[in-house]
């Protein structure tokens, strides 16, 4: 019950913060939250949050319904496979995250244009550079979040955290 309540409040707060950051920096906090809680919080809750947030964002941003869900679902699958090859805790693990963020920022406009207008959009160098910059900034935020989780981690239980 408490988890459900936290989930609902989180969705409202995330929509607020996401809308603000999207307007100011065209930067997504939601995708960072997803990566940060993925495999750290029970999967059913993670996917429920992504589903609710995805539909909410698709609605308010006038995107095709389910676009966020599909893109994040596919990218999380790839991330999971990448983490098999490159451990999440290693420094190279952040390269996998960079790929994840860059793909997210690229796939969203491509998917929107393909589904709504049936046109593959032109990828300008400007967009590619901005995607990379946003990916690197997201990595920076992720590192800070990882450090935060590490500080919360119980010394006796290496893999689990108190939030779970």
């Amino acid at each position: 019950m408490i988890k459900a309540l936290i989930l609902i409040i989180s969705v409202f707060l995330l929509v607020l913060i996401e809308s603000f950051f999207l307007r100011v920096f065209s930067f997504s906090i939601f995708v960072i939250v997803v990566v940060s809680i993925y495999k750290r919080v029970e999967d059913s809750w993670v996917f429920l949050l992504i589903a609710l947030m995805g539909i909410a964002l698709d609605t308010v941003l006038h995107m095709p319904l389910g676009l966020h869900m599909v893109i994040l679902g596919v990218l999380l699958l790839f991330l999971k496979i990448l983490w098999v090859v490159i451990p999440r805790g290693s420094n190279l693990g952040y390269f996998a995250l960079l790929m994840f963020f860059a793909s997210y920022y690229l796939l969203l406009p491509i998917g929107k244009s393909l589904i709504q207008d049936s046109v593959f959009p032109e990828i300008l160098p400007n967009l590619a550079v901005w995607t990379l910059v946003k990916g690197i900034v997201s990595i920076g935020v992720c590192i800070v979040v990882d450090r935060f989780f590490t500080s919360l981690r119980d010394s006796n239980e290496g893999s689990s955290i108190r939030l779970r």
């Binding site: 409202f12 929509v15 607020l16 913060i17 996401e18 809308s19 603000f20 950051f21 999207l22 307007r23 100011v24 999967d43 059913s44 996917f47 992504i50 589903a51 995805g54 539909i55 909410a56 698709d58 609605t59 308010v60 095709p64 319904l65 389910g66 676009l67 869900m69 599909v70 679902g73 596919v74 999380l76 699958l77 999971k80 589904i115």
Partner: protein, 273 residues
Amino acid sequence: MKKLSTKINYNQVIFLFLGILLLLLEFTSFGSVIKYPFSYAFEPIYVVANDAGESVSNWGEALVDASSYIDEYNSMKEEIARLKGDNTERILDYEEYQALKQHISVISQEEKYIESKIINVTDTGEILINKGSKDGLKEGNIVSFGKVFIGILSEINSNSSLVRLPTNSSSTYEVVVVSGKVDLNKEFRIDSVIKSTGVALGDLEGIRIENMGINSNVSDGDTVLIRDERVGNILILGTLIGVSQNPASTHKNGFVSPVFDYSNILTVFIRIN
């Protein structure tokens, strides 16, 4: 562990399947049915956050573009200064037009005048004008505005001249006092309406008038006219005020309030013949 892995995969597959299903529903009318409650709940939040983001974004852009705003501000200051200059020039042109119009309506057409601008008014009862010997001005020329006496040219340079006002301490003029009710435009025979003669003396406090007849019925509000051989024509000096009421005195004194505040005049006319 194996069971957990299977459960995770199952969740992820369901999630992907649900996403694809929603994408397909987007193409049907059922998509808008799903969107409606989300729109109802989240649109207000989105609008508030978007507005806040926009204001922050505007401030950020303003800070980034601060240097361009400074340049724009400086160029606008220059533009304002230029427009003020143009405006002042037009006001001066209009004032000159009005002055000429008034002057021409009251002066004799036989006399020749030169129009001049006042450059400066001194504390000693003199004004500097922008016309000089190059324009044919000579010492002693009478400066007036319509029928109002302004002064006499006391010093001439090639491009500027000094006009000695009646308020200057070295100014003395023979004057006559007539009733304030006399219409000077209609009355041609001034002698018949003179109340008294007198002498106007310049003073830093104003223009004093002395030697008015003790038996004359001059009073405050009467008009003081200059009738001096140096001036030639009869011109208006001002209004009589502060007439002395001392019965022991052999004459009456008073002050003359000029028609104009000399510091407010912009244009004057110099009679050159």
